[in-house]
């Protein structure tokens, strides 16, 4: 994307995000929070995808973070705000342990294992009835910041900035080289001195930590958690669809996809409350078939005649 245009758009988006709490009511703020949350998840999913590893475990780490946060408050009396970085830390440690076991796997084997792990987290939490509240979940006495819409908005924005900051770090540092090399050609990456396992582990732990952080923010925003709500397939499918629609292997693509699909989802939820996920499925199929590089890829093709940035 043209750098000046990107800067102008980023400045405009920043201005809208900063002024929104002062201008908008509760409903638009909640829509904005949802979009920011899914945008952050989409960006983290894409960060790992840059290595070629496709994770279907976003909801697992997100739900784990959500439960870590709410249980830290309810069972250990931890302050709500502190419980969010605690959730991130716990998710990161779990990802580190799991990573040692599963990051030797590639392609669909890795994807299936991440999907299975998310389900295992859900089942374990659902069955620890005394500690987690079981299928009925747990409820806090109140929400973070006394339920202040603008307070929760700023908190979610903070979560988004953490994800965007990490993604920018991935893009602008040696990590970009490492992950792109691994995705392009593992043999050449190894023979160029890339320690594949180490970089994959870093990407997996960082993205999982942020997903846990976002789970903590989410649960503190709503004040309750049930296995069905925080481990919902929405937290895997929506970010995935957003990143695919906007364009993978970049920070801008998932942002673009999240804005478009986030706004569309609000409309679709009202029109077909129980079937909007079907529309996401259709979007994924259409994007994979007809524009595998997403909208950003189409834009790059149109502006540069197909000579895109190294991806």
């Amino acid at each position: 994307m043209n750098r000046n245009l990107a800067r102008i758009l980023a400045a405009l988006a920043g201005a809208v995000m900063v002024t929104l709490p002062a201008l908008a009511g509760a409903y638009p703020l909640q829509v904005a929070r949802n979009i920011m949350l899914y945008m952050a998840l989409a960006v983290t999913w894409d960060m790992l995808l840059r290595s070629g590893q496709i994770s279907f475990g976003i909801a697992g780490l997100f739900g784990l973070g959500a439960y870590a946060s709410i249980l830290a408050v309810l069972r250990a009396g931890m302050p709500a705000l502190l419980s969010i970085p605690f959730a991130a830390l716990l998710s990161g440690v779990v990802a580190l342990i799991i990573g040692f076991l599963i990051l030797r796997l590639r392609a669909m084997y890795f994807s299936i294992v991440t999907l299975a792990l998310a389900e295992i987290f859900r089942i374990v939490i659902q069955n620890l009835v005394d500690f987690t509240g079981g299928p009925e979940g747990v409820i806090m006495k109140g929400r973070i910041f006394g339920g202040s819409d603008s307070g929760i908005y700023w908190l979610t924005l903070c979560g988004l900035f953490v994800a965007l900051g990490a993604s920018y770090w991935f893009e602008k540092s040696k990590i970009h080289f490492a992950l792109t090399a691994i995705r392009n050609n593992e043999v050449s990456a190894r023979t160029s001195g890339v320690d594949i396992f180490r970089w994959l582990l870093l990407a997996f732990v960082v993205t999982s930590t942020i997903q846990g952080f976002l789970g903590g923010i989410y649960v503190q925003s709503y004040g309750f958690a049930t296995p069905d709500s925080v481990f919902s397939a929405d937290f895997t499918l929506l970010p995935l669809a957003m990143a695919l629609l906007g364009g993978i292997h970049s920070t801008v693509g998932p942002i673009l996809g999240a804005v478009l699909l986030g706004l569309a989802s609000e409309y679709l939820k009202l029109q077909i409350p129980y079937g909007h996920l079907v529309v996401y499925g259709i979007i994924i199929i259409i994007v994979i078939l007809f524009m595998p590089q997403g909208l950003l890829g189409l834009f790059r093709k149109a502006t540069r005649g197909g000579k895109g940035r190294a991806s």
Binding site: A181, N185, S188, T191, G193, V194, K307
Partner: protein, 234 residues
């Protein structure tokens, strides 16, 4: 000696491919010849840590590298230009070259100087610096692959079948470049094109059925009746 291999045995599963290979390479260029299936690529993969050593040893600058993972072998100073080019096709030439130095700790500070050397050796890469590597011709891609390997400032450069899939005029150019390179780096090159490569290397080894059967200078190999009959078509 830079590389010393003694009594090397290895293979895949229960299949033994190399049975007691011994060789050494000093400050020179060495050609490794043999028919398909002789074990040339297996030997290279074993040196690079991609294959397990069953028996024997692989020593590089006196250090046993037999059990090291590939990225550590690369960091120790051995660079590989694999068969079939094995580029990063969706990266630009610039990124391919930069990646060659990015993960080798002792050369990171010298990457600008190394880049200049590589671009001087392969001027076409300077012209195509921003082009995606996967969109270049076969010969140019081979130059990118060699250039990337040289960005690691290796002490030993291994090339696996560098002429594979290239037209004859490009093959001659590749071997001309190898001739220039051997002044600054030790080279081990495997080749099917024995005639062309004997002009570029100092010494040659013939690997058949997992063992070195002939060893000598390039001139000796060119006169050897078995080499003449089996590899030079005389």
């Amino acid at each position: 000696m830079i590389l010393e291999i003694a009594g090397l045995e290895t293979g895949y599963g229960k299949l033994r491919v190399l049975s007691g290979v011994s060789l050494s390479i000093g400050a020179e260029s060495v050609g490794l010849f043999g028919p398909n299936g002789a074990g040339k690529t297996t030997l290279i993969n074993t040196i690079m840590g991609m294959n397990r050593v069953w028996k024997g040893s692989v020593r590089f600058e006196g250090r046993d590298i037999g059990g090291l993972p590939t990225h550590e072998v690369a960091r120790a100073g051995i660079a590989l230009v694999p068969q079939e080019r094995e580029l990063f096709p969706l990266m630009s030439v610039a990124d391919n070259l930069a990646l060659g130095a990015a993960f080798i700790p002792h050369v990171v500070s010298r990457k600008e100087e190394l880049l200049e050397q590589v671009l001087a050796l392969f001027p076409i890469l300077k012209e195509r610096y921003r082009q995606l590597a996967g969109t270049m011709s076969g010969g140019q891609q081979r130059q990118v692959a060699i250039g990337r390997a040289l960005m690691a400032n290796p002490k030993l450069l291994i090339l696996d079948e560098p002429s594979l899939g290239l037209q004859p005029s490009i093959v001659a150019e590749v071997f001309e470049r190898l001739g220039q390179l051997k002044k600054t780096v030790s080279i081990l090159v495997t080749e099917q094109n024995v005639r062309e490569s004997l002009r570029a290397v100092d010494r040659g080894l013939v690997l058949e059925n997992g063992a070195i059967v002939i060893e000598g200078t390039a001139a000796e190999l060119a006169r050897n009746p078995h080499v003449e009959r089996s590899y030079l078509g005389i």
